[in-house]
Symmetry: C2
Subunit: 253 residues, 2 copies
């Protein structure tokens, strides 16, 4: 079972979009996939068309032990999901912060999970306790990178955080790869940033770039992955290409 | 003195970009402006070309009382800034969380601030303790909105948070306005979301939209505002237009 966190503390770089579409893309390779939404904004949950009132128990209930795996997993469009909810942001988050061993709440809750080939966790744009829980539960990190100046600035903090977690909490953790999102090769800025990233992190950048494609931004308003929304789009082609690379490129090769 | 927080828990919607360019735009109206970076990612600080090693004391030192106003303010391109730094994310943030009265640390630190017409605070993509400090220090909130489906989803949580803070901590707090960012009128999704926002929040949407403009994304890599980088660009025209509206449109009109 490959467990992957999609993380980047920079906001709006395509974390949620990638979680949905990598998840859906892996189904095309006959993989069983579980998605986990650990962002209180719950955008992964909404992107699958699940409304807030439909959620009986969420990832918080799982982490604090008030619900088991079988009663938090919902199924949509062939994907299994452990949903999140907005009230994770307030007192509930504070409650998680104050629980002893709070770095491992999710890891412990997933300890007897089976029956999946891939587990994919969508993280919030932060390096706090929720992202910490994701990074102690997985052994792979995928970093979506918007190829712009400000997004590149945040990378060093993220890499530092992954190194610290690997040393102190989760020896198996490693960055499997960085992939460009919203990429437009006609924009000089995008080309320059991508060149920079390839130079800084030579063997960590996926070959596939996800191009800028309006269909990708439209799909979540219909609760669909890019494959169900517009299978002929550049977005569908790029995410399928990326999934092919993911399946063939094992971690820590 | 108008004190404004630029806030939206959705990531990547143009908060930092707007803080820099509204700040620089207000200089064109002969206003004295102080920018405050309260996001540990420090993107507002980097956007003005200030490197991490140049910062002697930051907003954290100000909030915890280990530095005064006069030794945290740096000046660049005519703008005064209270910088942030990445180490605000770890133990320092935990220290703020555990300090009694931690919601008002920034407000208290700014209590004898004078000599400015506008104070503009750039917030992180979250509704935690740092955004809380910003929202208790100001009486106006500006909400940059990327006109896409996922960005619209986050609005209700943000509005709820502002209402709670107004009731419990800061009676003077109000949303002055919402403005569209990265707007492309040729994209149906952008037009539809903008129409939706105008219907939901009739008198809260600024007339000016900030159009999608690559020069805006290029400017921070040179440490410049859009006005210094490319004054003929759509970005410069739009942010100037927005500033005109801000100056003319007083809060709570
Ligand atoms: N390749 C793409 N082409 C066009 N639009 C895209 C693409 N990828 C993502 N988007 C859009 O960009 C916006 C940001 O993406 P998304 O919300 O997935 O980022 P995120 O990193 O999860 O954000 P947050 O930091 O708030 O969690 C969304 O409106 C999404 O629909
Ligand atoms: N009008 C625009 N046209 C083109 N690009 C833009 C525009 N506004 C912002 N950008 C770019 O979009 C990206 C996101 O903007 P920015 O970082 O300011 O958002 P943010 O809300 O501050 O993000 P975060 O949530 O991470 O703090 C940046 O690369 C920025 O340069
Ligand atoms: Mg997201
Ligand atoms: Mg920002």
């Amino acid at each position: 079972m490959r467990k992957i966190a999609i993380s980047n503390n920079k906001g709006g770089v395509g974390k949620t979009t990638s979680a949905v579409n990598i998840g859906a893309g892996l189904l095309k390779f006959e993989k069983k996939v579980l998605l986990i939404d650990i962002d209180p904004q719950s955008h992964l949950t909404y992107s699958l068309g699940i409304k807030a009132h439909e959620i009986k128990s969420d990832v918080y209930d799982l982490m604090t032990g008030s619900a088991g795996l079988s009663n938090v997993i919902v199924r949509r469009n062939g994907l299994d999901l452990i949903p999140s909810s907005p009230d994770m942001e307030g007192d509930k988050k504070k409650n998680i912060m104050d629980t002893p061993g709070n770095e491992f709440l999710l890891k412990n809750a997933l300890s007897d999970l089976s029956g999946y080939d891939y587990v994919i966790i969508d993280c919030p744009p932060a390096l706090g306790i929720l992202t910490m829980n994701a990074l102690t539960s997985v052994s792979e990190v995928f970093i979506p990178l918007q190829t712009e100046f400000l997004a590149l600035q945040g990378m060093s903090e993220l890499l530092k955080k992954v190194r610290v977690i690997k040393e102190k909490y989760n020896e198996s953790l490693d960055i499997t790869g960085i992939f460009a999102t919203m990429y437009n090769e006609r924009k000089k800025l995008n080309r320059e940033v991508l060149e920079n990233v390839k130079r800084y992190f030579p063997d960590k950048v996926f070959k596939t770039c996800i191009r800028e494609n309006i269909a990708i931004a439209e799909a979540p308003s219909f609760g669909k992955s890019i494959f169900d929304y517009d299978k002929e789009s550049n977005g569908a082609k790029d995410y399928l290409e990326l999934c092919k690379e993911i399946v063939e490129r094992f971690p820590h090769d």
